[in-house]
Symmetry: C2
Subunit: 359 residues, 2 copies
């Protein structure tokens, strides 16, 4: 795995395109797959210059096999960001954005300038800064997507792991606004405190010896039968299904040979733990687990659904959908070994913002 | 866990019911959950008399917790069976069956006489024996249900594990008839030979050192993206998804950061291995795993769908849907410690038929 900064000409925008001078772009967990490719960053080696750092790191054998089709391709990174439109194509939609501050989910946003179709641009509300708009797509649309999925698939309550993340805090605010019962699962006392201070009703600490009982009680009270899991590896997904089954059995009060008939669904949308997922399958037969990804979800709800969600994000950008960052870095700074070691840890509460204009 | 034979009065049949003198009832894997309740049969103890044996066996802690709601309930066993109608209620449907040989999926079929609603009876075709009709519901409807699920969910090829079982051989015949590509996964050379002799196109032996490559090749050739797994525990389900992803990537030829967009689905319909399921999740984000059970499937296709499938079973009972048994036992014989030890092993190719009329 090789990381570097490259010079590239800025293209002339097509009729429906604009050139954004990128001022802020977050490092999301969903960027790290493309950026780090599962490489062993503890063995990363730096070379190059201060302005043009180069970092290489070895790929574990399993990652190397999965990435065969990617070898020797140079891929730009950065799902989203925000900045000022400094040039615009001839279309009315493009011209209207000239000089405006916009957020864009155009990919390749870890750049100083980026040519993006206006379809992927969101004009920021008056007074909002580029930093406030930088994360207006991935996390807000994912949180909204979870609630939409709940409604589409007929559930009435949600479970969320890594619930103290930026996304988790956003989801907590959304669920409170929309009256959707949400069971937050965290790993540390301070994360529990943070969510309770933000008004969360159900918070379960997976490090507590009483976790399984706490979770079952919260699931009985909330009737949550749909979980979104950011972790992926380990046992927590299976534990959630086990406790959902216990809650469903307690609610029905009768023994059923194949388990409860209540469908229990777990979606894995992240991979904070890349290790194997272990399922104990003591939750009857009415259960499902699957991958959940934003893009296919948006295809499922169609353009109108997507516009409806984006309008809500714009209206509540600095309230419900606010993000916080713990560290700001330049493009070169994002390739320093200590920064890589830090953001590769996926620590909840730690979040990087790249400032491409800074040196 | 306590097993025994009990005397019970035979009820008078209601208008739409018949009394069947049960002549043959199979011990299916789906019966063993109710019959043995996950007990440790290696520690089983026999008591009672030769005619009225009693067997007790301890429950592991996990099974005991899951079965809290079942404690102290005496539950009759036997999903299906066949026999002669010796009494019938007043309805035309019931009277029409008097003296006929019928199969029934009425539950509690490990009995000498059983009162069943005519809705659950299938009149056997001329010349068919009770032994031939005894397994006319669970396995045939499950095999047909797999192919129906393939069509309902938009797949074009199937994967099946424990593929040399009675059900697996049936599914192989069905898929050949219906031109559905089927990848059979077995664990032993003689199982591979058996399926190949029966005309199977794709057979992969999971004990072979080349298993993952063999499976990927078969999946590329068959385009199978839906798997039914009878095993449940271990890694085979995850291996199937891994190879499906490799086949899908090879077909598309391009690198996609989130894996292929082809949806890969695994249904676990049995638990030959009760141990944990281990998922390596190296198959992108477009995948799903879930429990699959016959009853909710039949509810999904409705009464008309079910009648269509049952008519096909009746027409092909002694050909496509033929079952074979390796041992016949009386009701008391089914509770002998050596028989229990044998059928509790779930060995592929070993299948018991209970003959309630024999002593």
């Amino acid at each position: 795995m090789r990381l570097s900064l490259e010079s590239a000409p800025v293209p002339a925008p097509g009729p429906g395109e604009v050139i954004i001078q990128v001022e802020a772009a977050p490092i999301n967990p969903s960027d790290l797959g493309l950026l780090l490719a599962g490489a062993d960053v503890t063995a990363a080696v730096a070379s190059g210059t201060e302005d043009r750092p180069v970092v290489t790191a070895p790929l574990p054998a399993a990652a190397a096999r999965a990435l065969r089709a990617r070898v020797d391709q140079s891929l730009a990174v950065g799902n989203e960001g925000a900045g000022t439109v400094v040039a615009a194509g001839s279309s009315e939609a493009a011209q209207r954005l000239l000089g405006k501050l916009v957020a864009a989910a155009g990919g390749s946003m870890y750049s100083q300038y980026r040519c993006v179709d206006t379809m992927f641009c969101l004009e920021l509300p008056d007074g909002a800064t580029a930093a406030q708009g930088a994360s207006s797509f991935v996390n807000p649309m994912t949180a909204l997507g979870m609630i939409e999925t709940l409604r589409l698939e007929g559930h009435t309550g949600l479970v969320h792991t890594a619930a103290a993340s930026n996304l988790g805090q956003m989801l907590n605010r959304l669920c409170l606004e929309d009256d959707v019962p949400l069971v937050n699962i965290v790993r540390k006392q301070e994360q529990e405190d943070l969510l309770r201070a933000a008004g969360a009703t159900y918070v379960c600490n997976s490090s507590a010896p009483t976790f399984m009982d706490d979770l079952t009680t919260a699931l009985e009270a909330s009737s949550a039968t749909l979980a979104f899991d950011a972790i992926g590896g380990g046992k927590v997904g299976s534990q959630i299904l086990t406790c959902m089954e216990a809650a469903a059995s307690a609610a029905s009060g009768t023994y059923s040979r194949y388990g409860s008939a209540v469908h229990k669904q777990l979606y894995i949308y992240g991979g904070l733990d890349r290790g194997p997922t272990e399922l104990t399958r003591n939750y009857g037969m009415a259960w499902g687990i699957g991958g959940w990804l934003l893009t296919p979800f948006l295809q499922r709800i169609g353009l109108e659904g997507m516009i409806r969600l984006r309008d809500r994000v714009a209206a509540e950008l600095t309230t419900t959908f606010a993000s916080t960052y713990t560290r700001e870095v330049s493009l070169a700074g994002a390739l320093s070994l200590d920064a890589i070691a830090d953001y590769a840890r996926h620590a909840t509460g730690s979040k990087y913002l790249i400032r491409p204009a800074s040196a």
